[in-house]
């Protein structure tokens, strides 16, 4: 059964990768990268059970915690065009 779940996750990852490649808007890309992250969390979790040593879930936990840093950075990047405290020439976000 773990193998079936694994196959489903891999198939879903292929599809998400396809969307990431196709775009067309950059928001589609962020979205698919983000959902790819969730699938990897699950994949690593299931993989632990499949190999019989499920005590290595720390990696999944790490992704679950940190995966949205990337999303926040992207959001800030597109709204303010910088990751620091800089200010736009026109004074406000687009």
């Amino acid at each position: 059964m773990f193998a079936v779940t694994m196959a489903a996750l891999l198939a879903a990852m292929i599809l998400a990768l396809g969307r990431l490649y196709l775009g067309p808007t950059l928001y589609d890309r962020v979205l698919s990268a983000n959902s790819f992250g969730t699938k990897t969390v699950l994949l690593i979790g299931v993989m632990g059970f499949l190999t019989g040593r499920p005590d290595f879930l720390d990696i999944s936990l790490l992704y679950a915690l940190l995966n949205f840093i990337g999303t926040i950075a992207v959001l800030k990047f597109f709204r303010y065009r910088t990751l620091g405290d800089g200010v736009n020439p026109d004074g406000d976000g687009p």
Binding site: L15, A16, D55, T71
Partner: protein, 118 residues
């Protein structure tokens, strides 16, 4: 007997979770515009993920593994909707319009396709 029951329950969870994950991914690739894709990705990130984690929890029984799975579930439960919200918010403020009815007005100006689509 109990082993059989736990296996059956966890397999039911895993199967339905896998199904939702695949459906969500299909939606991600097949839906016509960004906002509908957002909706499809949401299925994977919340219910699909939680069902799979629940299936694993039933397998693990009462142990540290279950606690870790619970934590993963809890963090995903908070971070996934937050990032989805953030992306949707960013897209809307950047001027990407939802596609309405007969295919007109899919995405406009500033947030339009990103140069080379390939």
């Amino acid at each position: 007997m109990t082993a059989l029951v736990t296996d059956a329950v966890s397999w039911a969870f895993l199967a339905s979770g896998s199904f939702l994950v695949v459906v969500g991914a299909l939606g991600l690739i097949r839906m016509p515009d960004f906002y509908t894709r957002l909706h499809a990705a949401g299925i994977t990130d919340t219910l699909g993920a939680d069902l799979i984690l629940m299936g694993l929890m039933v397998q693990a029984g009462f142990s540290l593994v279950t606690v870790k799975l619970l934590l993963i579930g809890a963090f995903l439960f908070f971070t996934s909707p937050t990032s989805t919200h953030a992306i949707a918010n960013a897209a809307l403020t950047a001027g990407l319009n939802p596609r309405i009815a007969d295919g007109a007005g899919a995405g406009t100006d500033s947030a339009a396709p990103e140069g080379d689509g390939k």
